[in-house]
């Protein structure tokens, strides 16, 4: 970190960041374009933001997306945490490797295949497609991510904490909720956030499992762009970039502050 300045480093850093962020920067700039033509600059304006908030279709899609993301990530967190707990705690049994492999397999499964198989399943059981089917589909694939995050935390969890809880009179159920869950809560929360982001982001699985009545934002954007990029979509994307940036920065500041405070308290305690 404290190395000397070198032209090589400076150049590679610049290229790296330009590669990552130039497209987004162009998108943000053109969201403030006066003209309807996306590629021609005609002066600064915020009118597309105003129009965006008039556009019922986009607002509906955003609402559906948030609802789907909230419920699917919540279900995925519950199921993923239970799966992780069972896999880490149950010890050795016949077929354990098979089961844990099966939990993680959807991580590497192509989304098209997951989406198609879910679509066929929903048709087979005669379920009407809509927000509910998207929630179920998102729960299915994002619970694997939750279970990866939670099980890595559980693997480093001191087992004697649970034994101490049992020893002090807890039933195993009580021990889980009053000791294990509060301690692994950060991992559970980051699992939830991960599932939420994955759901917000998903286009492929959602378009397989959606019905005519419920369109999510990624589907809406994708279909709108096929008819031509409009400045409204640029404005919408800029808002999303803004929200993500604020979220990431505040989360990292909060966790850094937490770590610093803890280290300071631990130093004080030893004196």
């Amino acid at each position: 970190m404290t190395g000397r300045f070198s032209w090589f480093n400076a150049t590679s850093l610049t290229f790296g960041f330009v590669f990552l962020y130039l497209p987004m920067l162009i998108l943000i700039i053109f969201s403030f374009n006066e003209s309807r033509l996306v590629t021609v600059w005609a002066g600064f304006s915020t009118k597309w933001y105003g129009e965006l908030f008039q556009n019922e279709a986009f607002l509906d899609a955003a609402w559906v997306t948030l609802k789907v993301a909230f419920w699917s990530s919540t279900f995925a967190t519950v199921l993923g945490t239970i799966a992780a707990y069972v896999m880490v705690r149950s010890g050795r049994f016949l077929g354990r490797t098979l089961f844990s492999g099966m939990i993680y397999a959807p991580l590497v499964m192509p989304e098209v295949i997951t989406g198609l198989s879910l679509l066929l399943f929903f048709i087979a059981i005669g379920m009407d497609r809509g927000a509910t089917t998207i929630i179920l589909a998102h729960t299915t694939f994002s619970m694997c991510y939750v279970s990866v995050v939670v099980s890595s935390r559980l693997a480093s969890f001191d087992r004697s904490l649970e034994e101490a809880a049992l020893d002090l009179g807890c039933t195993p159920f009580d021990a889980f909720f009053s000791v294990t869950l509060p301690i692994i809560a950060p991992a559970v929360i980051s699992g939830w956030l991960l599932a939420f982001t994955l759901s917000l982001d998903d286009l492929v699985i959602a378009s397989f499992t959606t019905g005519p009545s419920s369109t999510t934002l990624p589907i809406k954007i994708f279909s709108a762009v096929r008819l031509g990029v409009s400045p409204e979509i640029n404005a919408l994307s800029t808002i999303m970039i803004g929200l993500v940036t604020i979220g990431v920065i505040s989360a990292s500041l909060a966790s850094r502050g937490l770590i610093a405070r803890r280290e300071k308290e631990e130093r004080l305690a030893q004196k």
Binding site: S160, A164, A165, D167, L168, P182, I183, A269
Partner: protein, 380 residues
């Protein structure tokens, strides 16, 4: 030793046939797959005892403790607590609490809530809990830290929180798993006396697991020395040290000189060990008589061997050798003396004189002698 501190006389319920043990292990075995952790073990522990399970790692002492806590079930045999078989009782319903080696303090709760954790899950009325927690805080001198989280206090304080938490429910039996392992030596010594004090004040039966023989000797009323899932000897610390019943115990507890030989009875009928052609047999005491000719070991503690430059008169056991090494420990010195036959004896002497005035040093020829009751003859 702990039992001599009792004002109403010697505390020795194990010698009293009318006394009923609080815990009885009856032919208990525990297997993990092919591995036998506990092998047909029978043991009684009495109320108000401070009982130490001592042995190297892997000897089964922790398994024994986990069976008492309810985290492991015996494969064979029964464990009785107050005459009731506890095999079917889950850990949360046993009147047994445990202090964990890692302390296992709940990091999300402060000191007060850690101590109250077990009380909230007991039959104690909610209104009485704060008073009981305060009592525990006073007992362990933690009043000032009640509102702190475990990461905000030092290692010694954490150890006391763990003790307070496990004592809060007033268990019939408190299990301590290497309780002082994480503390440095000075703090450990202080804490040992604190533990003994708390044990006597609360009148709780303590069972401590340790691999540190000094710790076991200091705190325990009785020690069980374990090896490979079996108990080799159960006795008071002084008897474990003075009259071990096996070479394993003699060697595990403290320092010892061991000589291998054949048992004989000398002309006065005293048991003696023939340990080589042309050497005077060593006379020692013997607990269990054995027929002459039995293969035996003679064990004698270094501090029971005298060292000097002149041959003493009227002693039964006396050998001559050359000083090979001197370990100077300040208050005492240990001399390693090599006999002409190659054996090395260790003798300890207090340094009552300044080191410069010592009358013998490296390479000097010295005499070692000890009384005929100083050492012990062991058949196993």
């Amino acid at each position: 030793m702990a039992q001599t501190q009792h004002p109403q006389g010697v505390f020795a319920p194990w010698d009293d046939p009318a006394e009923k043990p609080i815990i009885r292990f009856q032919s208990v075995s525990k297997h993990f797959g092919d591995f036998t952790a506990i092998d047909d073990l029978t043991l009684d522990i009495y109320s108000r005892e401070f009982f130490a399970l001592l042995g190297p790692s892997g000897c089964g002492k922790t398994t024994l403790m986990r069976m008492l806590a309810g985290f492991e079930a015996p494969s064979e045999g029964t464990i009785l607590l107050d005459d009731k078989d506890i095999a079917a009782v889950p850990p949360n319903q046993r009147a047994v609490n445990m202090m964990f080696q890692s302390y296992a303090l709940f990091p999300h709760l402060n000191v007060h809530d850690n101590i109250a954790f077990g009380l909230k899950r007991s039959s104690m009325p909610k209104t009485e809990i704060p008073a009981r927690v305060d009592e525990m805080l006073r007992l362990t001198r933690l009043e000032k830290f009640a509102k702190r989280k475990p990461h905000q206090i030092s290692g010694g304080q954490r150890q006391r929180v763990a003790l307070a938490r496990s004592l809060a429910k007033a268990p019939k039996l408190l299990l301590l798993d290497e309780p002082l392992g994480a503390l440095d030596k000075k703090l450990r010594n202080d804490t040992q006396f604190e533990l003994m004090d708390i044990q006597e004040r609360t009148g709780t039966t303590f069972v401590i697991v340790t691999h540190d023989q000094e710790e076991a000797m200091t705190v325990a009323s009785r020690i069980a020395v374990m090896d490979e899932g079996r108990i080799v000897q159960v006795d008071t610390p002084d008897r474990i040290y003075e009259t071990p019943n096996a070479v394993y115990v003699a060697d595990f507890i403290g320092d010892v000189n061991l000589v291998h030989g054949k048992l004989h009875n000398d002309d006065q009928g005293r048991p003696s060990v023939h340990w080589g052609e042309g050497r005077t047999p060593i006379v020692g005491s013997m607990m269990d008589p054995a027929p002459a000719g039995t293969e035996v070991h003679f064990a004698v503690r270094p501090e029971k061997i005298n060292i000097g430059t002149e041959r003493p008169r009227d002693v039964t056991n006396c050998v001559r050798g050359k000083i090979l090494d001197i370990a100077y420990l300040g208050n005492i010195s240990t001399y390693h003396v090599e006999l002409p036959s190659g054996e090395v004896f260790k003798a300890q002497a207090t340094n009552s004189r300044r080191i410069a005035r010592r009358s013998f040093t490296w390479e000097d020829t010295v005499w070692l002698w000890w009384s005929d009751t100083a050492g012990i003859i062991l058949t196993r």
